[in-house]
């Protein structure tokens, strides 16, 4: 399986050497593309020095659009699998293999789930509550039983790549809603254990009112994904 690992990043110059180094030692065969979302700390230069493919967005577009740029790169490059992998050190490269295997085994999208892996980092009570809410909403709206729908660790087969590269991808808040869209578009989704770690970045979801704004946007985006016109999902 030709695999492209996409690392969307914004201001991760400090973390990239470790993240990329660890990935290289575990997954020497895979290509690594760093999508730099207009970082201000020289992330792109660091990634280039590490020998990664670097796609540098000329404008700050946000996480979703950065991931999508990487997926577009993978899709055009004809990769069998595109893996999205966070640049802040919270994903374990050892968890990539089961996801790629799931796609090789016929799944369109394989999701890394911390709830399938005992001892994985769960985050604070707010995060846990948020994930429960999204998982419950996701399940109620579509019947999808995915217990970690906000996971950023995903493996995408060609059909999922095509869907996520299109305008049907919710590029603003691409978490549970993207999975709902994929499910409704008829893709086969599955999950595998992922031993998530704590992010190495100090600033996170816990700044001020951000988590609440995020949750509210996510709920709305989920509803839109679930209630959207079916014919917009097929093309």
């Amino acid at each position: 399986m030709r695999t492209l690992i996409v690392i969307p990043c914004r201001d991760e110059a400090r973390n990239l050497p470790d993240v990329v180094g660890e990935l290289r030692s575990v997954r020497p065969e895979d290509d690594i593309a760093v999508v730099d979302d207009a970082s201000r700390d020289g992330s792109a230069e660091v990634a280039a020095r590490l020998g990664c493919d670097v796609v540098r967005l000329p404008l700050h577009l946000g996480y979703g659009a950065a991931v999508q740029a990487g997926i577009k790169l993978g899709q055009r490059g004809g990769y069998d699998v595109v893996v999205t992998f966070d640049g802040d050190g919270q994903h374990d490269p050892a968890d990539v293999a089961p996801l790629v295997a799931a796609v090789a085994g016929g799944a369109d999208l394989a999701l890394g789930s911390r709830f399938q892996a005992p001892g994985a980092y769960q985050g604070g009570p707010l995060r846990i509550a948020g994930r429960r809410l999204f998982a419950a909403l996701c399940g109620a709206l579509t019947g999808l039983a995915l217990d970690d729908p906000t996971s950023g660790l995903k493996a995408l087969g060609p059909r999922a790549q095509a869907l996520f590269a299109s305008s049907r991808f919710p590029d603003r808040f691409p978490d549970a809603d993207a999975l709902v869209v994929a499910h409704r578009a008829g893709l086969l989704l599955t999950q595998r254990p992922a031993r998530m770690r704590a992010s190495r970045n100090v600033h996170s979801m816990h700044d001020g009112l951000r988590p609440f704004a995020y949750a509210a946007n996510m709920v709305l985006s989920l509803l839109v994904a679930a209630l959207g016109r079916a014919r917009d999902l097929r093309e």
Partner: protein, 134 residues
Amino acid sequence: MPLRQQVVFLALTGLLLLVILELVRRRRLRVEYSWVWLASGASIVLLILRYDLLLALTETVGAVVPTSTLFFLCILFLAALCLDFSVRLTTLTRQVKDLAQELALLRHSRGEPAPPTALRAGEREHERGDDRFR
């Protein structure tokens, strides 16, 4: 409606319509955006010349004074306009995103070194409020 009021309002509306036409002529305003303004100007003219229409409308919607009907219509018009702008902004946002991605991918495929970060010092950045990158 007194003749004096009619003349004043007609003159003002005529000026508004002229400004709109001039903006379109100088390509400062796109033709497809101008029709809303032209239509609103035309309806003002209509209501000035046919004040009885406004009175009938007031009767129909159940308002007490014609001024209320007029204000109500204005607010409705502005709300519709804002909604229309939001829809257009959504389209523009998607187009800018797609273009930025294409530019980045094109530069990548040509092996061009990416230029230094586009943001200049002191330039305010539009905050995307994106938690995954926080």
